[in-house]
Symmetry: C2
Subunit: 342 residues, 2 copies
Amino acid sequence: MPATSRPTSKDVAHEAGVSQSTVSLVLGGKWSGRISPATAASVREAAERLGYRPNQAARNLRLGTTRTVLLMVPTLTAPFFGPVHTGAVRVAARHGFGVVAYVWPDDAAGPAGSPFAAPREAIDGILASSMEVEALAEFRGTPAVMLDSDPSGPVPTVGFGVAEGMRSIAAHLVGLGHRRIGHVAAAVDQWTFRARAEALAAVTARAGGTLTRAACAIEVGAARDAAARLLAGPDRPTALVCDDDLIAAGAYKAARALGLDVPSDLSVTGFDDVLLATALEPELTTVRLPAEELGARGMEALLELLDGGRPARRVLRGRLIVRGSTAPPPRAEGRVEREAGV
Amino acid sequence: MPATSRPTSKDVAHEAGVSQSTVSLVLGGKWSGRISPATAASVREAAERLGYRPNQAARNLRLGTTRTVLLMVPTLTAPFFGPVHTGAVRVAARHGFGVVAYVWPDDAAGPAGSPFAAPREAIDGILASSMEVEALAEFRGTPAVMLDSDPSGPVPTVGFGVAEGMRSIAAHLVGLGHRRIGHVAAAVDQWTFRARAEALAAVTARAGGTLTRAACAIEVGAARDAAARLLAGPDRPTALVCDDDLIAAGAYKAARALGLDVPSDLSVTGFDDVLLATALEPELTTVRLPAEELGARGMEALLELLDGGRPARRVLRGRLIVRGSTAPPPRAEGRVEREAGV
DNA sequence: CGGGTGAAGTCATACGTAGTACTCGACGCA
DNA sequence: TGCGTCGAGTACTACGTATGACTTCACCCG
């Protein structure tokens, strides 16, 4: 129970000497031609004087809306989703919406029955990041927008051009002369990773290269082991393409354990360009995904949807950021110049 | 507007052939001795059949409560606060509370007037992480708990033993033989950093060592520059104590730029033990702060407060994690053994 | 002078729930 | 038989807002 009981519209009405209806009309902005400017001004002044704030619960009940959106993310511990949340909150707040973040629990296949029981009663819409559409099953009927997910599904999406991003990485490596490429893939069955894998395979094949692959959890230790497996094989890759910056950090460790220098012995690339990418040594060549903008655009799309509109699909482009972790392969026969853009 | 209008308690009443009051009493659990078990069962069954969920807005209005808590964090982009959020959400959900995260905007001194306008109307309480008590000024009257903040203030706190953590780091370095210590400090005027600085100074002084200090934003580039300043001085420190793992990453960069090896030429320590700590090479000696538990305990305290209780102060202990970034100083005269605990 | 018109407000109600005050009938006891 | 009591359930209201239906009054025009 809130300590001080706040003034209501009735109090404001009394203070201004009008009826509660008038207060509601004035403060709701619906008074053109119904309330005289003078009265409106005095109501506003009274509200100001009393520090009146409308009671949200009452509005929600009356309007049948909650002005609250659920943001579903797999985790907030990994570095990628914080900015997504921030972007979403920023846009939502501008429209008077709150954001409740729902974090996928580690130990459950879905939200049902978990200690995270999503507050499904009190939300108007859902913004679901990096998950499959099945995750929304129990919310059927609630307007939703998915982020970085399969755009061919039944739910509107806002995504990254991940395939394009991966192609730019692959082209960069091929351009440096790499032909034996290892893919340290995230062992997560999501559209975004499937798309990356396909794009990498396509470019590698077109360049006449060979591609080997090992999958791992998105976690440094697991990534190190997966990378080590690839590097231990017969035709050792000269470049490791990682699905994620975190995975790249694991690849660095594997390389170091084998005495391989990055980038002169082994090129490594990441994906996302999270904070980690510049903390590593050498700094990581990666694709920058504008995570905060993803959250912002996604929220915009959702708000359009809640407004009854049909949001246009948005695709945000990733951008290749070339740093110090890529170089021509040892004894390279390919071209050597470094490209700075996509 | 939600697509399908959901069943209300009135619908359930009709379905079960009783009155709405009865439904409310049964589902509210307040029916002992008022409603017969048989009727109660049939109400429950009807509710189940219709998939009834109480309307939150109506409950909130009726009960004068929102079952929503505001979590204020400086950022969700930095790696530390994601887990705090997760822990808070986990506990809140267990008690039927939702959590709205409010992220301090970059460009404003406080929440007022920012695009992040906090939904101050619709919350029962506040959990504020790592900020000064003044930040709560405009929420005066709302129950609040502060995390990792000055415990001598007027607001209940749940915190870390940061001083103790810093002492364990300092003792570790002193034990290895270090006497010239540099402190790469966060240029943030918060209790938690002031406490760290004091603890470090105390231990260093007691050991007869010298302490130099440079402050920087919590950001890799700025940290690198600050560390470089310390390392360029006359009596170069043999160890850099960083206020934060992120800052330690910057220290690594400064060392590498000077051709100094970590740890044989220079020991480096961090604070927090975020994911980054094990991604770095060598892995970082740091103090592990249980961030998720901080969020969880903080939320517990807040819920106690909302219940009318007076939450006991909780202090979570940090733990020294010795990894590969610390070693005896070059030409060490000190003891050499490595300690594994606090 | 009567009726129409438009401006300026007010009345009354509904949203869905929780819970207090009430009703109703059956039963026990004197 | 009459009264108190208890068990089982219902009627009704309040929470604070938004808004469609209504009132009131001044003014204008024929």
